[in-house]
Symmetry: D2
Subunit: 309 residues, 4 copies
Amino acid sequence: MPDLDRIVKDIAEEMRARPDRGTVASYIPELARVDPQAFGLVVIDGDGRVAAGGDADSPFSIQSISKVFTLTLALGMVGDRLWRRVGREPSGSPFNSIVQLERENGIPRNPFINAGAIAVTDLILSGHQPREALGEILRFMQFVAQDNSIAIDERVAASEKRTGFRNAALANYMRSFNVIENPVDYTLGVYFHHCAIAMTCRQLATAGLFLAYSGHHPLAGHSVISAERARRINAIMLTCGHYDGSGDFAYRVGLPGKSGVGGGILAVAPGKASICVWSPGLDAAGNSHLGRIALEMLVKRTGWSIFGV
Amino acid sequence: MPDLDRIVKDIAEEMRARPDRGTVASYIPELARVDPQAFGLVVIDGDGRVAAGGDADSPFSIQSISKVFTLTLALGMVGDRLWRRVGREPSGSPFNSIVQLERENGIPRNPFINAGAIAVTDLILSGHQPREALGEILRFMQFVAQDNSIAIDERVAASEKRTGFRNAALANYMRSFNVIENPVDYTLGVYFHHCAIAMTCRQLATAGLFLAYSGHHPLAGHSVISAERARRINAIMLTCGHYDGSGDFAYRVGLPGKSGVGGGILAVAPGKASICVWSPGLDAAGNSHLGRIALEMLVKRTGWSIFGV
Amino acid sequence: MPDLDRIVKDIAEEMRARPDRGTVASYIPELARVDPQAFGLVVIDGDGRVAAGGDADSPFSIQSISKVFTLTLALGMVGDRLWRRVGREPSGSPFNSIVQLERENGIPRNPFINAGAIAVTDLILSGHQPREALGEILRFMQFVAQDNSIAIDERVAASEKRTGFRNAALANYMRSFNVIENPVDYTLGVYFHHCAIAMTCRQLATAGLFLAYSGHHPLAGHSVISAERARRINAIMLTCGHYDGSGDFAYRVGLPGKSGVGGGILAVAPGKASICVWSPGLDAAGNSHLGRIALEMLVKRTGWSIFGV
Amino acid sequence: MPDLDRIVKDIAEEMRARPDRGTVASYIPELARVDPQAFGLVVIDGDGRVAAGGDADSPFSIQSISKVFTLTLALGMVGDRLWRRVGREPSGSPFNSIVQLERENGIPRNPFINAGAIAVTDLILSGHQPREALGEILRFMQFVAQDNSIAIDERVAASEKRTGFRNAALANYMRSFNVIENPVDYTLGVYFHHCAIAMTCRQLATAGLFLAYSGHHPLAGHSVISAERARRINAIMLTCGHYDGSGDFAYRVGLPGKSGVGGGILAVAPGKASICVWSPGLDAAGNSHLGRIALEMLVKRTGWSIFGV
C-alpha cells in the first residue's frame, strides 16, 4: 500500500515537528522519564502489509490499552457473566473516579475505567495464583502480537504498586460489595503488572488485527473470538475507550480506540486495518495529545471513519 | 430490495407477537394514551427504495429525535461556536439530570440530553421570535422528510408545557450561567413545540437520509450539510443518542441512533440506509424496548453494524 | 449592663479598624452598592436593656435571615406537617446547590438553604394571594421587631427577581416533585420580597428575643411560640444557619445563628440575649466575615457559648 | 440527686418495655450477636453522683464513640495543625461515603465520619509503632474513665479487620492525597482496634465528664484540656456526632453527643452532667434508636437542652 505508506510517513514527520506535545504522565516516576519527543505510528492491514512512521519499534508502557485484551480474555473465560460485574456505559467522569461506584453499588460503569478493568482482572484471576493469571495474560498478548519477546517492565509494575493508592481504594471499595472476590492484593498485583507490559507500535497494531477482522487474526491464521464479540468490543472501545474524552475522540477520529497513559492509542478500522500510534504527551482528559491528532489526520486522508465516508 | 423487504416484514411480525412491550411514557398525559401494541419499521436506501413493516404510516410524537435536527440546524447557523455552549461527551446519568450542570458550570454534556437540547434551541432562537424559530425548525423537518404536511401536535406541546417543570429547572439553571441567553419561557416554548412534532416512521427515515449519505440527501437531490459534519453528528448519536443506555445500544445494535420517549428511534447505517422504528413501550433507560430489539435483529440480518461485519 | 456596653463598643471599634473586610455580595446589583466599611452590633436582653455599637441603626437587606421568621410562621400555620416538605439536616454543600435535590427526590435538606426556604414560603402562600402572604410575613416581622416602620426594599426585590435564575431552577425542580404546589412565579415572588426586607441591627436583635427566651417575647409581653419550638428552631440555626460554614460557626462562636448575604447575622444566647451583627463583606462560605469574628469575640468575653463556660 | 435517679430509672423501664428496638448492626458478625433487649442509661454529675438504670454495667463495643477521645488526644498532640487534614463541617451523607472525599481532594469533612477518624488516627500514629499508638489511646480511655480494666475486644477488632474493605478504600483514597502518611495497614489496624474498645455506660459517662466541665475532669481532679477546646469538641459533636442524623439529634435532643454502631451514645450537658445510653438497635441513620428516644425524654424532664429551657 504505497499511498498509505506515504500518508503514515507524512503524518509522522508533521507530528515530529509540532511544538505542542501535551504533558507526559508523572504520577508514576517510571513513566515520567519518557522522551516527550517520541512519536510512532504503525498501520497493518489484513494481508500483513505494514505502513510505519517514526518510532515504530520503540517499546512503551501500554498501560490501559491492556484493558482491551484482558476484557477479550475474560469474556472468553466467563462469557456474558462478566456483565454482572461490570457495566458497559460511558462513565461521564475521570478514569479513576470512585463517585460512580458509590452511586451504583460498586459496579463499575465499563471495563475500560480503572475500576472496571480491576474487576475484569479479578475474573481472570479466579481460581488461579497471580503468577498463573499474569502468565495467561502475557501469553495471550504474545500470541495476538505474534511476538514471544513481549515482556512486563518490572520497574513500572513496582513503581505503580508503590503509588497505586487510588486503585487500591477502588479495589477495596468493590471488594466491600463483593464485586471483587479474590484478595485485593492479588487482584491489584495482576492488574499493575498487565498495565506494565511494554510493547511497540508494531506489536500493538498486530495485536489489534483480530478486532479489525471480525475476530479472525489474519496473521495468526485463525479465529481469536467470534465476529459478534469483536464488534461488541469495538463498540465499547468507541463509547468508553478514552475516559471522559471518548465522545470527543468519536467526534474527531471516528474509530474504535483505546488509549493508555503511556501515550499509546490502539485504533481499529473494521475491515481495513489495525492502527497503533504513540506519543507520550497527554491532553487534559489523559489521552495522547498528538496521538489523537495523528489519528484524526489518518482517518481524514484514508476515509476510514466508521460514521460515513 | 426483496430480501430487505422480507427481513423488515419478518421483524415487524415477530415484534407484533411479543408480550414484552416495555412501559409507555406517562409523564405527559398525551403520550400515555398511545396504543402499546403499535409497531412500525421503515428502511430507506439512497435510491429511495423503501422496506416497510407494521405501522409505518402512523404519526407519533418524535420527542427527542427532534434534537438531531435542531443540532444540525444550529450547527448550520452558528458553526463550531455551538460547542462553547454544549459539550459532546456521554453524560453517565439520566436524560434530565441537573447534577452534571452544577459540576460543570451550567454547560450541558451533550446536545442530546434535555439540557443540551434546550441550549441548542436557545441558539436557534437568538434574534428571532419564538414563532419564527419554530417555523424554521418545522420547515427544515418538512424539507428533509420531503413532506410539507408534517406538523406540530399542539395538544402534546401544551401538555408538555404544563408539566415541564424539570425542563424549566434546567433552563433557569443554565440561564444563571448565561449558557441560555433568551427569555427562558421563549426558549422552552420553542423546545416543547419541536419535541411535539408528529411524524411517521416513513417520514423520519426519509429525514435521516442525509446522515446516512455523507450529508447529501439523495431524494431531495442536494447537500444538506458537509460530509464531515454528517460523520460528526453520527458520532454524537452513537455515543450520546440513547441517554444512559447509549453504551448498551452501541454494544447491541452498533449503529448511530437517536431515541425519543414517544417510542421512536432513528438509526443510520452509513452508506447503506436510514432506518426508523417505532414502538411506544420504553425500557428502564427511557428508550423504545422493542425498537431496540428490532434494530438489533435488523443489523444482525443485514450485517450493517459499523463495528465490523 | 455597663460591662456589656463596654464590650460591645470595644468590639465595634476594633472591627471598624480592621483591614480585612471580606467581599460584598455582588450577585444582586443593589447589594453590591453597600459600603464595605459599615459595621453594627446590637445586644438586647430580656429586660430590654440594649448594648449597641457602630451602625446599629442603619437598615440593611436581611436576606436569608428572613428564613428564621418564615420558618417560625410556617410552623405556626401547618405545624410538623412542614417536615414532610423539608428536612432538617445540614446540607454539606453551598446554599444554592441543586445536586442534593436530585438525590433526595426534591426534598430540600433544611429550611435555611435556598431550596428549603422556598418550600417553606410555598407553605405560607397556600391558599393566599402573594400579596396577602407577603403582608402576613411583614406584619410578623414588624410585630417581633416591635416596629411598624419595617418595610421591603422594592429595588432589592426587583433586582433579585431579574437575576434569580438559580432560585427559579430550584423552585421549578421542586415543583416537578410536587414539593412546591403554588405557581412557581407566585412562590418566588413572595420569597424574593421577604428576603428584601430592610432592617437595622436594633430591629433584628429585638425580633430574635423570642428565640432567646423560650418562645416568649419579653418586650411584646406575650408568647410567640412554645418553648419547645423555640429550642428546636435554635437547634436548626446551630446546625444549618450558616450554609456550608455552619460547623465552623458552631466551633468558633458556639451560638445558634443565621446569616444573610446582606452581611447580617442574628444570633441567640438562650436565656441571656438576642444579638445582631452586620458587616457587608462576606467570607468564602457566604457569611459575614467580620460579623463572625465579632460574635466570636463577644462570646469569648461574655462566656455565653452554649457548649460550656 | 433523688429526682434524677427516679427519672433515669423510669426511662430505663419505659425503654425495656418498648417493642420498637431498631436493627442491630450486622456488618460485623461480632456485633450482630448482641441482645437487642439490652438497655442501659447512666448520668454522672460533677460531684460524682450517679444515676443509673438498666444494663449500666454491661460492656459493649464503643465503636465510633472512640472518635471523640482520639480527636481529643490528637488535638493534644498536634494542636490546630489537625485541621489541615480534617474539616469540621457536617457531611450531608452517610458515615462511610467516599463521594465527598473525591470532591474535596481527600480531606474528610469532619473527624467523626469514618474517613475523618481514620485521618485523626493516622496523626496519633505518626512516629510510633501501631502497638504504641494503641497503648496511648487505651491508657487515655482508662484515665478519663477512671478504670484501668478497660480493654479492647480482640474478636471485634479481628472481625472488623476482616470485613473492613470500605474503610480500607477510604484510607487508601486519602493516602493517595497524602492526607494519610503512615502505611495504610498500620493506620487501619489502630483504627479498628480503638473502635473495638469495650466499655460500660458507667465507664463512658465517666469518661465524658471533662467535656461537660470545661475540660476539667472532676473525678480525676485535674484538667484534661482547656475550656475552649472542650467547648469546641462539644460543638463538633453537636453538628457532626450522629452522621446524617446530626441535625435531627440536635432538633430532638439538643445536647452534644456521639453515637456508635454498637448502640451507645455519649451525650454532654455542659455544666450539668455527662450521660451515656446504650441500646443496640439502630435507626436508619445508624444511631441507637431507643438511645435517642431515651435522651429526648431525659432532656425534656431535666430541661438540660443547650438551646433554651
